[in-house]
Amino acid sequence: MEAMKQHYVGPNDTIEVEESLLVLAPMHAEASEKIESKNTSFWREAWINLRKNKLAIAGLVFIVGIVIMSIIGPYLNGGADYAAQDLANSSQLPNGTDWFGTDDIGRSLWVRTWYGARISLFIAVTVAMIELAIGTTYGGISGFYGGTLDIVMQRISEIISSIPSLVLLTLLLVVFKPSIPTIIFAVSFTSWVGMSRVVRSQILKYKEYEFILAARTLGASNGRLIFKHLVPNVVGQLIVVVSFSIPSTIFFESFLAFLGLGLPAPLPSLGILISDGFKSMLLYPHMLLIPALVLTALMISFNLLGNGLRDAFDPKMK
């Protein structure tokens, strides 16, 4: 009993206590049921977790900054017309009148960069919303009803996802003219499958949880099961997937632009600007660097935020 030695009161030790308190006390078992901690919901808890993640917050700040600039930026430095040319003033380095300089036909790079960011973000967010709508519905139905329906729906989505999107895109862009809607359509045509897989696997997981069984034994309708029980539990995951889908669409759009499958001139997007800038990279590196920096900042920020969100929603982190 080595370890105990310094810690016990032996028969010969005396211990000073208020002896009048050595009487039985009334019982207060109800008191032990009281919960003293603050009432926290899932969302609050997730926000607190996210706030502790400095990188994710930095990402969030950058994203908000770029979004704001993509909305108001074009109006801050001269006219908001991204197509306005000023051939006399072409290929200027960044200066007091044209903050980001001008391109080879004298269009303001400041205006074009923020307008381009706006278009890139618009495409990415729209694609994400389409993925969300189709993927959630499709994956939800497939996972929730299960059985033969699930098997058939899974085979269909496998076929769709096995179509190489680049081939499909090239075909589409040959048939239709490249435009914002065509690009959105072409990208989201296959990309919703990923979202539907996430939703399906989540639904399959929660479907067997006892709280779902409990709701079923109480007679809950399918609508109630889906909207009251399943969706609130899956929504955190969905936000994470969306936060990773946005940067990958932005990247894909730039990639297309680089291949010459991008938006028609004079519409700018970050990809178009980079592709244009690349042509005069050696003489005027700012034409490439500035849009590339914005693109990189967006990509990194979204990825940092996505990682942060994933950790914040993960109950294991508590």
Partner: protein
């Protein structure tokens, strides 16, 4: 004493298809009755089919064969919508896992009131809240708890919330599927006592499914023992524990740990394998060997069991 049957399970079969065209007979030809106001215990090891039996009765699974009656009406297979609605009010379930049985995104008040909302049992918000508060008090919690989320509660408290949810529709029959196996010993007694109190107060009938034989013996009036999808023995709780006949029941009883070191040192465990039965000549049947004491045995075994009973008495 004329006992009224509340639940009648006849030749219940629940077979699941698994990969490769194989079929798992989770529940295979099981028959028993549950009387009004009693606690019917169902014990067995994991995979014995005891939980599947419970879930089949409450229609979480579509049964493969047999029939289930509740209050004299057939409730298995295709039934009318009206009856379905009545059943979801009158039969309720308490689950095993206090962590998985409550929706983590819902507040306690909404979890408990779910039955009220689905069956529109509360006229207005005020009444809904009052009912929830009342039931919280019955299970030993307070109105303060209503606005909190499940993750803030201890395992025992969560289990009581689960019980409150089951009680709010004023059911007649509650299937408790291993309600205490995931709880600590000190909390198990609390939950079992609460269930007994509720049974008296509301005249409930329980199907109590568990693998803990000592707790089942304590709470149940009658106990059925399941092994590999089949019911092997059924008797009054005291009778079953005093005069177990089936070798599997004996084996189970001999394995229960008792909080008594001397008893434990001298314990003789009785192993069981299905090889002890010789069913090559004659298959077993479900027989009532004594009034109320059923056993799965063939004729030769019955003779031996009869002898055992005679010797003991």
């Amino acid at each position: 004493m004329a006992k009224e049957k509340l639940v009648e399970v006849k030749n219940l079969k629940q077979h699941f298809k698994v990969g490769g065209g194989r079929v798992v007979k989770a529940v295979d030809d099981v028959s028993f009755d549950i009387y009004k106001g009693e606690v019917f215990g169902l014990v067995g090891e994991s995979g014995s089919g005891k939980s599947t039996t419970g879930r089949s009765i409450i229609r979480l699974y579509d049964i493969t064969g047999g029939e289930v009656k509740f209050d004299g009406q057939v409730i298995s297979g295709k039934i009318k919508g009206d009856l379905k609605r009545t059943l979801t009010r009158e039969i309720q379930m308490i689950f095993q896992d206090p962590y998985a049985c409550l929706n983590p995104r819902m507040k306690v008040v909404d979890i408990i009131a779910e039955g009220l909302d689905i069956h529109k049992l509360a006229k207005n918000k005020q009444e809904r809240l009052e009912k929830v508060y009342k039931i919280l008090e019955i299970v030993g919690l307070t109105p303060d708890h209503a606005n909190r989320f499940p993750h803030e509660f201890s395992g025992g408290q969560r289990q009581r919330i689960g019980i409150a949810r089951a009680l709010i529709t004023q059911p007649k029959f509650i299937i408790a599927d291993e309600p205490i196996s995931a709880l600590d010993v000190s909390i198990q007694a609390q939950v079992v006592n609460l269930m007994q109190k509720l049974q008296k107060e509301f005249g409930l009938t329980y199907l109590f499914i568990a693998h803990d034989l000592s707790m089942v013996k304590y709470i149940s009036d009658r106990v059925g023992v399941m092994y590999h999808g089949k019911l092997v023995e059924l008797a009054d709780a005291d009778e079953l524990y005093a005069h177990p006949l089936h070798p599997y029941t004996k084996s189970l009883l001999s394995a229960i740990p008792e909080p008594d070191p001397i008893y434990e040192r001298n314990r003789q465990r009785i192993p069981y394998t299905a090889d002890v039965h010789d069913y090559s000549q004659e298959g077993p049947e479900w027989v009532e060997i004594r009034p109320g004491h059923f056993i799965r045995a063939n004729k030769a075994e019955l003779v031996a069991y009869e002898k055992q009973l005679a010797d003991k008495k």
